[in-house]
Amino acid sequence: MRNIIEIENLTKTFGHVTGVDDISLNVRQGEFVTLLGPSGCGKSTLLRMIGGFEEPTKGRIVLDGQDVTHVPPNKRAVNMVFQDYALFPHLSVGKNVGYGLRVAGLPRLKVREKALEALALVGLEDRFDAAPHTLSGGQRQRVALARAIVRRPKVLLLDEPLSALDANLREQMQMELKALHTKMGLTFILVTHDQTEALTMSDRIVVMRGGKIVQMGSPVDLYERPATGYVAGFIGSTNQFRSSVLAGVTGPVVHCFGQSLSAPAGVRPGQQALFGFRPEKALVQFGEDVGGPDTLRGKVADSLYHGQSVRLMIDLGAGQVMVDLPMSGTAALPQIGQAVSLQVDSDKIMILADEVAA
């Protein structure tokens, strides 16, 4: 697939503060890309520069082969769904959706037809004449979406579009957005600080921090092979530990809070690195002397019941790790203080790069 957006060495500074720091990124036609990071990481600034609302300090933005770095928003074939929806309060739903076309001088009937078509895509064609303030949050969100796709933009930008919705509605909208993306074949660039949102919807996630890209890849890539401790901690939870690699009887080993585990492939004795494993990747067994090699032994320090699983905090003596225990069947909840063993196979251990100071 060809690139619809090419971003080259883009930088934005506000006074002495650098919002976006020398970012280069290509987005392919039809891709669903998510910019993920905590607030202040520069993701919104990057999105706003693509939309034309911020002037880049340095660098280039190429949209569909055309340099648009200094082109104002009204001359760019991209559209944005704003965080606060930005619906025009003095116009009806239909007039909001048709606004751009109507003011640009398209014939009245044509505008109506296109607005209805866009509203039908989000299931709101029957609210054409309603005033925005009579709609629910989820409906306003859909109107904003319809308004942004009515002109068939080359790229649809979404600035934390779901952050104002409650949890159930958010999940539903995630599915609808994904379906809309598939149906329309448009390129989506979404900004969020919600890792679940990023994981469920994106083809590719770009993790940002301090105005820079830390890592990008598919959701599975980022979850299974996070490059740094930061990514591992931001997407899902990870038990992290720093250890030297030592030569053991059956091969190299690492130490997790004083207990040894077989080292993952790719490290040699003498090396020192940051390691980690996901809470759901450890095999949990209860009892004093259960489990074979590659097992951490400890006691249950705390448990958080999640319904489908229980998150256990395990005290290893020198530190704590967390593990998830699936609650299939009618197993009794583990007791605090109960002895437990955690089998962590070497292929479950991730090697995490040291953070570049950000």
Binding site: D84, F88, G100, V103
Partner: protein
């Protein structure tokens, strides 16, 4: 329990109600009674007749004064709006520094703390024959003699009243512009619309309640003004309030003055009612 609550409510509400009753309704009632009395120069006697009202609606001089007052109030409001809107727009959307914005806002509002009389009087010294305008024109050689055309006419009154009442136009327009979310202008631009069309289709319609509020205040304040005609108005500059004042003064015709005052009150009340309807149209939309 309930009785105690009712007593408390009565105690809280009675001072303002009493105040309003004593100093609003009683005077209006007295005016109403007076307006039916008849004049018997140099005094006036209790009576019940509509002669004063008939006179106002049949004698063209009163009608003309009311019409002139409406005209001047309209031009003052229009002028104030045309100056205040761009100014408020500039403050809200162009001035980036909050402290500078506040300073420029206060520059317009602060004169309200200065005596109204003084502010109106200022224009006498600007427009008069020995005033600043004339000495400027003479020093630059545009005119050779001081001109008296600037002062003592309706234009001078309109200019003075625009200056005096412009804070009442700037304040509501500023407030309403400030309330418009920035993202609305961005959304308009995002949808392919340029600056001028964005202003006409988004910013202007959303600021109408502020314009209406400012227009109403300026209009009503001007409508009741009698200082400006007195200071800078000419022989054709009498406004309705001056006529009323003279009925209670030199002409010693309180009944006619009372009738005029009530008609003026009715006009102002109808303007306020209409404008309130307008404002309500723009309410509850930013939810």
């Amino acid at each position: 329990m309930r009785r105690a609550l009712r007593l408390k409510r009565a105690l809280v509400l009675s001072p303002p109600l009493l105040w309003t009753f004593l100093f609003m309704f009683v005077p209006y009632a007295i005016l109403l009674v007076y307006s039916f009395w008849s004049q018997n120069y140099p005094t006036f006697v209790p009576d019940f007749q509509l002669g004063n009202y008939v006179l106002i609606f049949t004698d063209p001089q009163y009608f003309r004064v009311i019409l002139r007052t409406l005209k001047i109030a309209f031009f003052v409001s229009l002028g104030a709006a045309l100056i205040a809107y761009p100014y408020a727009y500039f403050l809200v959307f162009r001035v980036r520094t909050p402290s500078l914005r506040l300073a420029l806002y206060m520059a317009v509002v602060a004169p309200l703390w200065v005596s109204y009389l003084l502010r109106a009087y200022t224009w006498k010294t600007i427009l008069g024959t020995t005033g600043i305008l004339n000495s400027f024109l003479m020093s630059t050689g545009i005119t050779s003699e001081p001109s008296s055309v600037f002062l003592y006419n309706q234009t001078a009154m309109i200019v003075t009243l625009i200056y005096v009442f412009i804070p009442f136009m700037v304040m509501p327009i500023y407030a309403v512009l400030e309330k418009i979310p920035r993202s609305l202008k961005e959304a308009s631009s995002d949808l392919g619309i340029g600056r001028v069309q964005t202003f006409l289709n988004v910013t202007l319609p959303l600021s109408i309640p502020g314009i209406v509020a400012g227009f109403t205040m300026t209009f009503c304040l001007t409508f009741g003004d009698f200082i400006a005609p007195f200071l800078v108005g000419g022989p054709d500059g009498q406004m309705i309030a001056n006529v009323i004042a003279s009925q209670f003064g030199a002409s010693l015709n309180w009944p006619l003055g009372a009738a005029l005052a009530l008609i003026m009150l009715m006009i102002v009340l109808s303007i306020i009612t209409v404008s309130e309807r307008f404002e309500r149209l723009g309410q509850g939309k930013f939810a």
